[in-house]
Symmetry: C3
């Protein structure tokens, strides 16, 4: 059961996943265990879980990777998929329709709606009238809760636990919504220490940092990589969100936060490098074949985590 924040809880019996705010550690573990189970099921058994359901994917902000991941997950569970890869251009949004109306109408055809939208608040509000589960697949500079879930799932699979780990998050901590959602989930686990590694202008927003600390997450600014990297369990690298920068000055110092063979050599043998992908030049491809490079496995974990979330919200276990 999703409880806590109204945005994530049941409304008239319908459960959504639009923010990480209302999640509990129990939610996270339930989905991680379900993901583990689903990846072991034979193809034919899997295809029974959501047989005949229709999942709609509405991408107002295009993202081929995330969309294909959700659609593959739905199809492997036996569901049908109807989708819009460029909803903002190709739909009634241009005519002035509200997202709330879209959810009510598409909810008449589909059993769940996966939506990526440029405006974070709009999605939360609109979900409140949706007759079917709404799943946030990324909302502007706001949240990306399924990415956070697959990130935590990857940490758990790779290292065997989440609690007590030292996680360094690196790169664009200002605009990178995946980091924001991830930290909001990590705060649910005891003993997590987070070190922030970023160019001067791209730090975590101050209000977010204050809130996370108030809720018990140990957050600290990092120093030189040579000091930090030898002590981390997880290095979570991110792409500079160039398309969201308001000034080129924000890029100053970004080149120091790339991962290449030198940085790799600083990491402990058991550590793992994660990245939400796509990457541009912030991880050297020479790193790809090192067993600590977990980012392609992370992408595959996304498939199973999204299967788990769809299956749970739609009651794929026969409820």
């Amino acid at each position: 059961m999703l409880t806590g924040a109204s945005e994530t809880g049941r409304r008239g019996g319908v459960r959504h996943l639009v923010t990480t705010d209302g999640l509990t550690r129990e939610d996270v573990f339930r989905w991680m265990r379900l993901a583990q189970t689903l990846r072991t099921l034979p193809r034919g058994v899997l295809a029974q879980r959501l047989a005949g359901r229709v999942i709609a994917t509405l991408f107002y902000e295009p993202s081929t990777r995330t969309r294909l991941s959700f659609e593959s997950a739905a199809l492997k569970l036996g569901a049908h998929v109807v989708g819009a890869e460029n909803a903002v251009e190709n739909s009634s949004a241009k005519k002035g329709e509200t997202l709330a109306d879209v959810f009510r109408i598409v909810g008449a055809y589909a059993d769940a709606i996966v939506v990526r939208h440029h405006e974070p608040y709009t999605m939360v509000e609109a979900a409140s009238v949706a007759p079917v589960p709404i799943i946030n697949a990324g909302a502007g500079w706001g949240e990306h809760p399924t990415q956070a879930m697959l990130d935590v799932y990857t940490i758990w699979r790779e290292l065997g636990r989440v609690e007590g780990l030292h996680v360094a998050v690196m790169g664009d901590l200002k605009y990178g919504r995946t980091v924001h959602s991830l930290l909001n989930v990590l705060r649910l686990f005891p003993g997590i220490r987070v070190t922030l590694l970023h160019p001067p202008s791209l730090g975590l927003p101050e209000t977010m940092a204050q809130r996370l600390k108030a809720e018990g997450l140990q957050l600290q600014e990092g120093g030189p990589l040579a000091d930090v990297l030898p002590r981390v369990d997880v290095l979570y690298q991110t792409r500079i969100q160039r398309e969201r920068l308001t000034s080129q000055d924000e890029l100053d110092g970004a080149s120091q936060y790339r991962i290449g063979p030198v940085e790799l050599a600083l990491l402990p043998a058991h550590a793992r490098i994660l990245h939400p992908l796509p990457r541009v030049d912030e991880i050297d491809p020479a790193v790809d074949d090192d067993p600590r490079a977990a980012y392609f496995r992370q992408a595959e974990n996304g498939l199973y985590m999204r299967m788990a979330i769809l299956d749970d919200l739609l009651g794929g276990d026969g409820r």
Copy 2:
């Protein structure tokens, strides 16, 4: 059997639905009854009707809603769907290919083609060479026959009959193709009275009005809403098609034709408000929860009507 106009009739045994011109009242009732039947069938039985067929959706004029409605309908009947959400940009249309060639070629892969196109006459002509059923999903300022069918179906479901009703059509009667197709179907039913409510510049095209009257439809211009609304059974509201206006002057007086709590209070208790959607501001969301607001149910009826049309044209009953 579709008979009457050549555009709708059989050609070499292939039946299309490209215009409402050739439809008979028997066609309308057959599809409405079939829609009623299909909505009662269990998921697994439904999925047998068009199992293994391929439906292509080609949208030269984007419309996420209509496309998802057709695709959901096809998938629930067990068909596969291949689609182009932005066919005019992403296809050979840019290279100068004719729609007739597209129909012949896509007809080699698909068992039916659902097409939305900006040019009404083109679709009628091109259908004549198509080896598989062509279904018009909206043609420029022209027709939108499946919308008309779901509108009539909604009237029938909500009020128990179609004949003898008083229907007010409101808003943009000049460019609104859904109104044109709807009136062309309503003329098949005896005793229908239609009242036209519209800004001065957005009335029904004169030649269309003349033709409908000549074919027996009772058409009259409406007066103040306070006089008309208390006497209607159906209030069919439409959006101003701003993207088709040729002058801003055409908007003069449009603000009088909105539905809010005041207008709602004028309607009889049994009356119903329909709207083809999307809406912008012509229906106040405060009206949504009134039982007379039928437009979200209408959207759901669209799913079943499109299932009925696909099923009938493709012989889903085993013929």
Copy 3:
């Protein structure tokens, strides 16, 4: 087994089809025979061959026809399809991601990737790291191997053999990648004679002509149509690739290479006209109903050839 060129061969057990360079006559015949078999199988049997697999279609250069052909083929074999009809606009390509990363990530969700890309070399390189089969669906001015395969298959079906035929290729031999890939496959068959018919500026690139001759293909420049056409078995007509021309001068003389009733009358009774489609004005529609006009049958053959290639590369026969 695909052997020969590294681009087409196995890599870690994964077979791709990115170029025709490594193909053998045995590959061609295996696929043609498999296409023949697949077109005779009942729908339900067909749907077992790739049941539960996921095929991704990534079109960085839009092409509705080719995409729908591949997607229909995959769906009829029982596979699921996830796709991007406009990948370059709607994806991480805009953010600077490499195609190699895309293949590794999408390969985590999908069992094969069908890709159309504007940059020929990129695809060959990226395929080398792909964990699943990559199928080239057209690469800029480069290759289009599945088109070549369906062309050869059409010749074989229409005329009963490939070896020893006289094939005239006409139109834009400079930019038309389908011609380049077709000639590269025809060179595998003994006794083929090829006559080139083209505007002065749109001949076959000289290095390509030299290479094909060196590998044993009989290539000759054609003279007046009145001399050439009565002696051909196959007339392969192509569209001028106006979007790739660098100067309007390249169009000089193009109007002589159209096929109308006059040219049709010059062809032997057993000859066949092929065209990769779309056509613009280079074949008069008056020719369409002549039994020698094979281009619409050719489009249908494309469906079965793509089924054969998918089935073979993904082991649809149960291997």
